[in-house]
């Protein structure tokens, strides 16, 4: 019996091995993915993103227990950054996920970004596909601690929860672009801390302005109203509300445009796979070729410019 066969019978050791195979981009990983691919019709992906230390892991810890207690199977992907210097990583999200042991409905996997800069690893979307193929009902994806521009989670997940804290005052001003636009639900964690009320009011007024701007645009479906949910992850407070908000967004998406929302993700997955495939092929053929070395010589000696040469090389590579 192969590892993939064991995966298909529900073996968790095999699940972990298949994830590594895909994450490592081992030879034939895409064929494994195509065997596993289920379309994800019964799985829902929820992303949690936000600044470092906001409480993303602590929230995942609580949410997973809440969902598993309802009989749902929960797969978790927790991403932490790889060092750009050594390529190594310290993956510490599990430290805040101590309630998730000994529960057969829950599976936790830590991932390093391995060179990606969008807050997730390039393989995160594929690991979601693996978890979907294994039969999880909900996938929770925790991004690295982000600033404003790490927005990959929005193309990988169906609902994005942006987590912030009472100390995020200045960050909220900055958040007006980027994070603000991908948030479907705002979670104000650590609302046991002073300043929580004020920051909630501030954020709600910013959201109100956003809403008015969109109303003027007269979109056909009524726009989603991004809620702000206060939580205290360490005391398990507000978690059910948070999940209710996520569920409402899920209902909104499936009612507002049931086909469109699957299509959008299928398109972005396909584009990402194509980009990766092209890059990988280029790397294996053209980047290693004498042609490229020759071109470099020509540029250095002043006989050609890189822009013209790039076009020529690409066209001849495509024909070959």
């Amino acid at each position: 019996m192969t590892t993939l066969d064991r995966f298909l019978t529900g073996d968790r050791v095999a699940l972990a091995k298949v994830i590594s195979f895909v994450e490592d981009r081992s030879d034939g990983y895409d064929r494994v993915l195509s065997r596993i691919f289920s379309g994800g019709k019964t799985t829902y992906r929820v992303g949690l993103t936000g600044p470092p230390g906001a409480g993303k892991s602590s929230l995942v810890n609580r949410l997973a227990v809440l969902l598993a207690d309802q009989g749902l199977r929960v797969g978790i992907i927790a991403v932490d950054p790889s060092s750009p210097f050594s390529g190594g990583a310290l993956l510490g999200d599990r430290v805040r996920m101590q309630a998730l042991y000994g529960r057969p409905e829950i599976f936790v996997r830590s991932m390093a970004t391995r060179g990606s800069s969008g807050g997730l690893a390039a393989a995160t979307k594929d690991v979601c596909v693996v978890l979907e193929g294994f039969g999880f009902d909900i996938i929770l994806v925790e991004t690295v601690g982000v600033g404003q521009i790490e927005l990959d989670v929005a193309s990988v997940c169906d609902t994005v929860v942006v987590v912030f804290v009472p100390e995020s005052g200045d960050a909220i001003q900055a958040m007006k672009s980027g994070l603000m636009e991908i948030a479907n639900v705002f979670c104000l964690n650590k609302s046991d801390r002073p300043g929580a009320e004020r920051i909630k009011a501030e954020l709600e007024s910013i959201l109100d302005v956003h809403r008015q701007v969109r109303m003027v645009a007269k979109d056909s479906p009524p726009p989603w109203e991004t809620p702000v949910i206060p939580t205290v992850a360490i005391r398990d407070t507000g978690i059910a509300h948070l999940w209710e908000a996520v569920s409402q967004h899920r209902r909104y998406r499936s009612q507002a445009d049931p086909a469109g929302f699957r299509k959008a993700r299928a398109r972005s997955d396909l584009v990402l796979s194509l980009t990766e495939l092209t890059h990988e092929r280029l790397e294996r053929t053209l980047f290693e070729s004498d042609q490229l070395n020759l071109a470099v010589e020509q540029i250095v000696s002043g006989r050609a410019d890189p822009y013209t040469i790039a076009h020529q090389l690409f066209d001849s590579w495509r024909r070959s």
Partner: protein, 137 residues
């Protein structure tokens, strides 16, 4: 590309975590992916995390004197759960003759106070070089 993945664990009630934090940083700087799970882990938790994370190594740090029960128990659970290929090793305050006894039972090398991080990195790399990857299908 394959990365060496290492789970570092503090089992039992032992709160001495300086050593393991030093090692975690050193292994990261050596290009490895280190999963740290925090204090007060039971052998069951260590093995469950190691399986889900598909690590090549489990490094346990024990300065509490409980090594003669914790190492064999983790080893037993790994075999029981079908993860016997994971290499278990560690360090802390472990008398020499007990290290020898544990190594006889199948635990890898155990490192005491004063060990340099280079020694540990070299050890992990040499064990990793002998492991082969199985195909998935």
């Amino acid at each position: 590309m394959k990365k060496i993945r290492v789970l570092l664990a503090k089992p039992g009630l032992d709160g001495h975590d300086r050593g393991i934090k030093v090692i975690a940083a050193a292994l990261r700087d050596a290009g490895m992916e280190v999963i740290y799970t925090g204090l007060r882990q039971t052998p069951e938790m260590v093995v469950e995390a190691a399986i889900q994370e598909d690590v090549d190594f489990i490094g346990m740090s024990i300065l509490s004197g409980a090594h003669m029960t914790l190492f064999p128990e983790v080893l037993r659970l790994l075999k029981e759960k079908g993860a016997g290929t994971i290499h278990l090793f560690g360090g802390g305050i472990i008398p020499d003759q007990e290290s020898v006894e544990l190594e006889k039972q199948g635990v890898g090398k155990l490192f005491g106070p004063g060990t340099t991080t280079e020694e540990i990195v070299t050890y992990i790399r040499s064990v990793a070089a002998k492991k082969k990857q199985e195909p998935v299908m």
